[in-house]
Amino acid sequence: MLSSLETAAHPERLRRVVIDPVTRVEGHGKVTLLLDDEGHVRQARLHIVEFRGFEKFIQGRPYWELPVLVQRLCGICPVSHHLAAAKACDQLVGVDQLTATAEKVRRLMHYGQVLQSHALHFFHLASPDLLFGFDDAVAHRNIVGVIQEHPEIARQGVLLRKYGQEVIRITSGKRIHGSGAVPGGVNKAVSAVERDLLRADIGQVLAWAQAAVALIKRLYEAERAGFDRFASVASNSLSLVDDSGHLELYEGGLRACDASGQILFDHADCGDYARLLREEIKPWSYMKFPFIAALGPEHGWYRVGPLARINNCDRIATPLAETERQAFVALANGQPVQAALATHWARLIELLYCAEAIERLLDDPELSGTELITEGVLRQRGIGVLEAPRGTLFHHYEIDENGLIRKANLIVSTTNNNQVMNESIRQVARCYLDGHQLTEPLLNQIEVAIRAYDPCLSCATHALGQMPLQLDLVDADGRLEDRLQRHADGTVLRCDVPDAADARDRFGACGC
């Protein structure tokens, strides 16, 4: 059910607060809050300037370029796009079943990607909030503070990330812009030397992954009451599961559950995604709002990503992660866990799962097999779906008789989480900001809620010296009443207010 804070009855009578951009997420995000005269929140929205131009960009290009080309969609999760596009291309070239070697090399690449992404998010982006508190001094609440006070944790984060990158380099051929997955298979197996290189450190990686899960459990349980409540939203969940209902990141059927854990559909063919899911357009956001078609837009929105996956699956196929999953589901007595901050816990269970899955694959002789490619007859439609670090990722392509892209549709993980992220910030606005004067720690609470989802806004541009953070309080006439600015150097200043015309100019373009 949609929150009452999505759209205020008389927005023109309310004061507007803008948090632009949200920090420590990938790309550009903006939050707008509308307050009444008593400072009560009447509307809260997360706006994301989604990277929609890419589908147009690739039209007319030959399909075989896709696995390499789509990596430029995102500098943070290029491997997820590489593999999703390759899976779609498998269908385009008429291949429904890869060779064992090809599938295992791709899986290894994918586990490396998820492992490094989850490590980056937890150790670099989320741990400052969790270790020091949401209201800790901004000068301290960052990776530098983590290194100073917890150098071993920081070092482990760096090396876990590095290990995942090495898995990617070995399986895709390059550190970035790799070409390992090709339509119908892979272009290289894993050599004995490469396998030995990864084996040398996997025991250490496993130990660190276990320590990371222990750390998040300790942090969560120390703040259990607050964390259970913070940004908690009862939602449906969508993810892949394998034929036995196990956690599955690379290949499986779609499972959707409602907020109580009842299955809405199960083992659904990913090729039917367009029938099962719809996308709603709202006039105030560039990003669409997907929902489960059978439930409609008001009740059908859902969560994807680590929390949805751990809630949805019946088991995890690796023993250490399964033990941790059982401890996790006990949080809500077997019901789906709905606390946004529990996503961090779920994310680290998945990190552990990936480490175990990598260890298993490294012992599998088929990883070094010689049958790499399967051939088939060209088809006109291909749909590749996998579980990217942030959630279910859909790549859908249609080609013409010359193999050129005629149509492309991508639903990225962050788009799938659009509504649930909005609902989370509304919960935070209602419970923690309502009636209070704006301060950086309060601002950060909104950001903590968003960061739990690790949104990735698919933009790898990073021009120097840009993207400060600004929070403005504007009255109903467009006059700027208050402004906080956080500069790229980390300083936070309360500023003189410019004139009202300036404020109207600024907000006239924000579309809300």
């Binding site: 980056l120 000068a139 990158q165 040398a200 950086e440 541009t461 956080r486 300083t491």
Partner: protein, 189 residues
């Protein structure tokens, strides 16, 4: 040999100089860093630039700390909007202030009430990137010092850029700047 050892990729000692160019090749002038690396790689093919390792990535990241280990000198290469000269070589320690060569208008802060006393902001934080998964070269320098000790000599080669549209080619000005910057870099390497 371990994954975590520097130089394991080639099983040889780490090259004393690293040039790391970063950016998205599909976003107009953001490709300047990777394109400069492409040019240098072509020269390595014909036997030049011995002792120099060339890397490219979308953006500086925390694992690049390990690429700094064992180096004598590291040059980051990035596109820099607002640069009046074709390029500038900047010491990384002061990256944040010097990578805005055309100073931006001060925010309305001349008589600003400071929410947080600037004196309380640790100097090293002034090189941190705050806004995404990426790190600045200055942040890498600081993190390196915290974890591994004194970093190598670190510099940022900022090349003038102006357009970052998806699918766009390099702007004419960026193309020219790339040529000038590449020629200069070849002389000093």
């Amino acid at each position: 040999m371990r994954c975590f050892d520097p130089g394991h990729v080639h099983a040889v000692p780490v090259a004393p100089i690293l040039v790391l160019g970063y950016g998205n090749p599909s976003r107009g002038d953001d490709a300047l860093g990777p394109l400069l690396i492409d040019r240098l790689q072509q020269l390595q093919v014909v036997g030049r630039l011995a002792g120099v390792e060339l890397l490219t990535d979308f953006q500086p990241q925390i694992e690049h700390l390990l690429d700094l280990l064992g180096r004598e000198r590291v040059i980051f290469v990035d596109a820099a909007p607002g640069l009046s000269a074709p390029y500038r070589l900047l010491p990384v320690e002061t990256t944040q202030s010097q990578t805005q060569p055309e100073p931006q208008p001060e925010p309305q802060s001349s008589s600003a009430l400071q929410v947080q006393d600037e004196a309380q902001i640790q100097p090293e934080l002034q090189v941190l990137g705050w806004t995404s998964h990426r790190l600045t070269p200055g942040a890498l320098a600081h993190l390196f010092r915290s974890l591994y000790g004194e970093p190598p000599r670190l510099e940022l080669l900022a090349i003038g850029a102006e357009a970052f549209e998806l699918g766009a080619a390099l702007s004419a000005r960026a193309e020219q700047n790339l040529r000038v910057a590449s020629n200069w870099l070849l002389k000093v390497l």
